[in-house]
């Protein structure tokens, strides 16, 4: 039988440093982002960061189902939109905004069950196609629903005056929760089941995993986070319409981020969300129609040359680096 291929012991201290960095870097990032509103470096930058938090949250959420579980969905705008409308109705109904966010999560999670029950009987591309259909259907229904204003949209009137920092911290808190949930899922028994399903659904079932309920649960967790992001967005935007929050483009944007950053990893969607959130603003401003084409080209390039996204590139660079180091350590 072959011995383990990798020589160990070469990087003991390097490993410890890496482990400390792995905990310290995210904490430092959170701390830095938390002081941003205090420094007041411009309303527009704060707005871009806030929207980036929301984008990242949806990307991290999508990744739990599309990445960890291997069930790519093209219908996450449904959860974003339902979350947005839940918060909108809640605030106008007199609820505290902070109460409407968890409510938005619950509504989105319930919707995910309604969508998942029939569509998770389908597999692979058929599931992805079904999610497009469901998402378009919900958009059309919302466009014709009278009590939310139909196609002309819905205005949110809050009694508290607008404060940028409130929104900013809501977004930051949400993205931190999303990443924490993603980490917990990844390391849990539940996460092991999701990985088994992604690798081989039948073998997973033959090992005692119930694929149907595990996928439903992953869908619900992802939908809840996405719904909360929609809620936080609605409160900020103060006006939402079906063509905005339920747009198919939004569903595509949500899955773009994990693909750019690295599908199925913890930090990939965060990196992808960061890139997308910042670049998106610039691109839409400069090329209002053209920017989607650029993303399309980017995705093709990623799938062709580095399906692991940015995280895949980093891993490749690390391997290259450590191979060189190992070579110099060899006694021959």
């Amino acid at each position: 039988m072959n011995a383990p291929a990798r020589p160990s012991g070469a990087g003991e201290t390097g490993g410890t440093v890496l482990r400390i960095l792995r905990v310290a870097a995210p904490l430092a990032l959170i701390a830095a982002l938390a002081v941003v509103p205090l420094v007041d470096f411009g309303a527009n930058s704060a707005k871009v960061l806030f929207l980036t938090f929301l984008w990242t949250t949806t990307g991290v959420a999508w990744n739990i189902l599309g990445g960890f579980t291997g069930q790519p969905s093209f219908g996450f705008a449904v959860f974003y939109g339902l979350g947005a409308y839940t918060t909108a109705l809640g605030i106008n109904g007199g609820l505290s905004p902070y109460l409407t966010f968890p409510l938005a999560a619950v509504v989105a999670a319930l919707a995910s069950l309604a969508i998942g029950l029939p569509t998770f009987r389908l597999r692979g591309p058929y599931f992805a196609i079904a999610t497009i259909g469901v998402s378009e259907a919900v958009r059309v229904i919302m466009t014709n629903l009278q009590f939310t204003g139909g196609a002309s949209g819905y205005r949110i009137v809050e009694s508290i005056p607008f404060r940028q920092a409130d929104h900013y911290y809501s977004g930051l808190a949400l993205v931190v929760v999303a990443v924490a949930v993603s980490m917990l899922v990844r390391r849990s028994r539940f996460g092991l089941a999701l990985r088994a399903i992604r690798d081989d659904q039948e073998a997973a079932s033959d090992s005692g995993v119930n694929p149907f309920t595990a996928k439903l649960a992953a869908h619900a967790v992802a939908a809840a986070l996405t719904g909360a992001a929609g809620g936080v967005y609605a409160r900020y935007a103060a006006f939402i319409s079906p063509d905005g929050v339920f747009a198919f483009q939004r569903s595509v944007a949500i899955l773009l981020m994990p693909i750019i950053g690295g599908v199925g990893t913890i930090w990939g969607p965060v990196v992808g969300g960061g890139i997308y959130g910042v670049v998106e603003e610039e691109l839409t401003a400069r090329f209002p129609e053209f920017h989607l084409l650029l993303y399309g080209a980017l995705v093709i390039l990623i799938i062709l040359f580095e399906p692991g996204g940015v995280m895949g590139l980093l891993a490749r660079a690390r391997r290259l680096f450590s191979r060189r180091k190992d070579a110099s350590w060899q006694p021959s």
Binding site: M1, N2, A3, P4, A5, R189, L192, A193, R195, A196, R198, D199, D200, E202, A203, A204, S205, D206, S207, G208, V209, N210, P211
Partner: protein, 242 residues
């Protein structure tokens, strides 16, 4: 010995074609039962139906006296029936040990706390413990067969369905797998063993069931099956008088 599994009049049609046609037999607790037959005889289909991967067209399966016909495969595992696949299906993103942990975590209704230790014990049983930390995709064919067995064993099955665990192996690898099956049986697991390789079956099994064209051709002790004219005909062909 008590009957553990009872298959009654099992039939499976694939768009008009009978893969299984009224197959019935009993499996007694504690035996290694060989299931043999030429290609396309219905062996793997029979396994898939017992393990819940497919539903039969008609017929009945009882296990521990309970009707389990058409049960879902993860429920079959929880009930104590686990299968290996002819073409191994490792979880490709996982290490050898994580593969076994899936079986440990989900294969039984009550999962234990000392997972890591148990995983290593099972890997030691199949002689894969030295490779525990390796990615499953790096294993050789023979080691993948062991991993497939290890993952199934992690579910602590009462009835183990082994689908051609020896195909594609060298003679010495095969002997060591057969030894392993005997050990698993001696630890109290009943085994149904599908195999193409007749010497492997005849040297390992207590009882042999022969399938041909979806029907049960014969059943009995291995020595008797070796000399059964119908079995010889199915495998080699009919003797013609010149």
């Amino acid at each position: 010995m008590a009957t553990l599994l009872s298959v009654h009049n099992l039939t499976k049609y694939f768009s008009g074609l009978a893969a299984l046609d009224g197959v019935s037999f009993d499996i007694r607790e504690g035996e290694i039962v060989g299931l043999i037959g030429p290609n396309g005889a219905g062996k793997t289909t029979l396994f898939s139906i017992i393990a819940g991967s497919q539903a039969p067209t008609s017929g009945k399966i009882t296990y521990e006296g309970r009707d389990i016909t058409g049960i879902k495969s993860f429920r079959a595992v929880h009930a104590g029936i686990a299968r290996t696949h002819q073409i191994t299906r490792p979880f490709r993103s996982m290490t050898v040990r994580e593969n076994v942990e899936v079986g440990l975590q989900f294969g039984r209704r009550h999962h234990s706390a000392s997972l890591g230790k148990e995983a290593m014990e099972i890997l030691e049983l199949v002689d894969l413990h030295a490779l525990a930390a390796m990615p499953a995709v790096t294993l050789s064919v023979g080691d993948l067969k062991r991993l497939e067995l290890a993952r199934t064993l992690a579910a602590r099955p009462r009835l183990l369905l082994c689908d051609e665990v020896c195909s594609g192996l060298t003679e010495s690898e095969m002997q060591s797998i057969l030894g392993l099956l005997r050990r698993i049986q001696s630890l109290g697991t009943t085994i149904i063993y599908v195999e193409h390789n007749l010497p492997a079956i005849l040297s390992t099994c207590h009882h042999v069931i022969v399938l041909n064209f979806g029907r049960k051709l014969a059943e009995g002790p291995p020595e008797q099956m070796r000399n059964d004219p119908a079995v010889i005909e199915a495998y080699i062909g009919k003797k013609t008088e010149a």
